[in-house]
């Protein structure tokens, strides 16, 4: 986080000059996505992602939340409209590595590589010498509570631990923007709750900006500062919920009446968002 440009450093401890306006990290400007077969995965969407926020995309299947995330990740191009990343792209990053990290649905680890090599992959690909990457890998693993697992292979770890490795790999580049596509969807609820708490603590501690896709209402309410509810056919933004619950959030928030209210509200919105489509499992 040390090398942040002062313009984006509004959420950083190192912020020296506080700029008057908060430039957004990503602006989605009327971007839509129509796939080759003609299905409109995403109708034109406008969305600004502010630094330091935890934004969650939630909605029924086919609402384009993954498509929107991939657009933000620059994994796919919009059919029309455009996206703007800080000062025209995240290529010019200098020595401090990339600014964008993506955590997939699966841990997506290289089974042939030890945990340390898996975590250091983004640094290795960027040509960071191992003398520099080693302490960063160790630090990232420590952050996710996996010290001492450097020399294990992915298959020796549980599903939850593999997901932690995946997050460590995302953190090792010191990203400004962390994109996560249903990262804990395949885990049991207990593990998921623990990882949610850890992720939230990490986000708060490191002043990250997160865009998170989930199916879980509880996860969305617990984690987010802003929840974007999306509707399907065509995929579009249906409603936005701001959650100003102070940080750090803990079990107390999970068990509070407010949490239950927010979940009920979000659930109602999701039900509305799902209405037009005839086949739809209840969330």
């Amino acid at each position: 986080m040390l090398a942040l440009n002062h313009e984006e450093a509004v959420t950083s401890h190192e912020a020296t000059a506080s700029p008057s306006r908060k430039p957004s990290i990503v602006d989605v400007l009327s971007a839509n996505k129509i796939y080759a077969d003609g299905t409109e995965a995403l109708a034109p969407v406008d969305l600004s992602i502010a630094p330091g926020e935890f934004l969650t995309l939630i909605g029924p299947s086919g609402c384009g939340k993954s498509t929107l995330l991939k657009l933000v990740a620059n994994l796919i191009d919009p059919t029309d409209g455009r996206l703007q990343w800080w000062r025209g792209g995240f290529d010019q990053v200098g020595g401090e590595g990339r600014r964008l990290a993506f955590v997939f649905q699966d841990a997506t680890l290289m089974p042939w590589a030890r945990i340390s090599s898996n975590v250091s992959l983004p640094l290795d690909l960027a040509g960071v010498p191992s003398a520099q990457s080693k302490p960063r890998v160790a630090e990232a693993l420590k952050r996710v509570g996996l010290e001492g697992f450097e020399n294990r292979y992915p298959r020796q770890l549980s599903g939850g631990m593999r997901m932690r490795v995946s997050i460590a790999r995302a953190l090792v580049t010191n990203p400004d923007l962390l994109l996560m596509d249903e990262p804990f969807g395949a885990l049991d609820e207990f593990t998921r709750n623990r990882l949610d708490s850890d992720l939230l603590a990490l986000w708060w501690e490191r002043k990250l900006t997160c865009v998170f896709v989930t199916h879980s209402i509880y996860e969305a309410v617990f984690l987010s500062t802003r929840v974007v509810v999306m509707a399907a056919r065509p995929g579009r933004i249906y409603r936005v919920m701001e959650i100003d619950e102070p940080q750090p959030r803990g079990e107390a928030f999970r068990n509070s009446a407010r949490f239950a209210d927010l979940c009920r509200q979000l659930s109602a919105w999701l039900a509305d968002a799902s209405l037009p489509s005839p086949v739809r499992a209840s969330p």
């Binding site: 990740a73 994994l75 990339r98 964008l100 993506f102 997939f104 649905q105 699966d106 997506t108 290289m110 089974p111 042939w112 590589a113 992959l121 983004p122 290795d124 690909l125 960027a126 292979y153 992915p154 298959r155």
Partner: protein, 266 residues
């Protein structure tokens, strides 16, 4: 100390050896009991004696066959891997060449061998070419499948990290291909031996530098059946050794991570 019967390693070794000893013992006893003539079906002791007496010739023949096998195997591995890389680099190349690779595979080597022996002047080289033809296809197809079977998520990850072609090849494609490559090695090594022996049969080359197949043919002509069995035993032994060598290599390379080679945990 725990009883030997509970040791996995001991059972793994002892059980097959016991079966082998039982079979050979039964064979020996049956031949003695019914007094089967040695030119019809020799006793194991006859075969062992023949193996001892003819050791210099037989081992020499084994060496010749193994040399051809290894040369052919090496050619198949190098060629097959190169072709696989070409196929993966260019879809057009694969589409245009793959049918011919299949053609190579489905044409029986026995049928092609005479032609090759006529075309290639040096007999040793001709035999190597025949054996290579047999061993080549598994290397091509396995390595191609391996190089293609890259996890899509990992491929995306590499793309997002702006990995170059070389880095992707070295860090992603080749490691992904290794299990398939080693499976190819196991098949191909056995086929190289089979190809070498079949080609020797067809060529029927005698004199200096003749292989085990020639020894078998000669023993047949001379009704020296124990010697025939001894040569057969050597071929089988060579095949098993090759297989074990490949299995060991595969374990060495994949032992740490691939499901097929990881020791079962209780």
């Amino acid at each position: 100390m725990k009883p030997l019967m509970e040791s996995e390693r001991f059972v793994r070794l002892a059980a097959p050896i016991l079966v082998g000893a039982f079979l050979i013992g039964g064979w020996e006893l049956a031949c003695r009991h019914w007094q089967v003539p040695v030119f019809l079906f020799p006793k194991p002791s006859d075969i062992a004696r023949s193996l001892m007496n003819d050791a210099p010739t037989l081992l020499g023949a084994l060496w010749v066959t193994m040399r051809i096998t290894f040369q052919a195997f090496l050619c198949a591995v190098v060629l097959g891997t190169l072709i696989a890389f070409l196929f993966v680099q260019s879809r057009f190349l694969e589409i245009s060449l793959f049918p011919y690779a299949v053609l190579l595979q489905v044409t029986p080597v026995v049928a092609v061998a005479p032609l090759i022996i006529i075309l290639v002047k040096n007999t040793q080289a001709a035999l190597t070419v025949c054996a290579t033809l047999v061993a080549l296809f598994p290397m091509i197809s396995n390595t191609t499948i391996g190089l293609r079977s890259v996890d899509q998520g990992l491929a995306n990850l590499f793309r997002m990290n702006r990995a170059g072609r070389t880095a992707t090849l070295l860090r992603l494609r080749i490691p992904s291909a290794l299990p398939f490559f080693f499976a190819g090695l196991r098949i191909s090594s056995g086929l190289a031996l089979i190809g070498a022996v079949v080609a020797e049969f067809v060529a029927g080359t005698g004199g200096r530098g003749s292989g085990l197949a020639y020894e078998i043919l000669q023993s047949g002509f001379q009704l020296d059946i124990p010697r025939m069995f001894a040569a057969l035993f050597l071929i089988a032994f060579a095949g098993v050794s090759l297989f074990l060598l490949m299995a060991w290599l595969s374990k060495l390379a994949l032992g740490g991570w691939h499901e097929s080679e990881v020791a079962r945990e209780a």
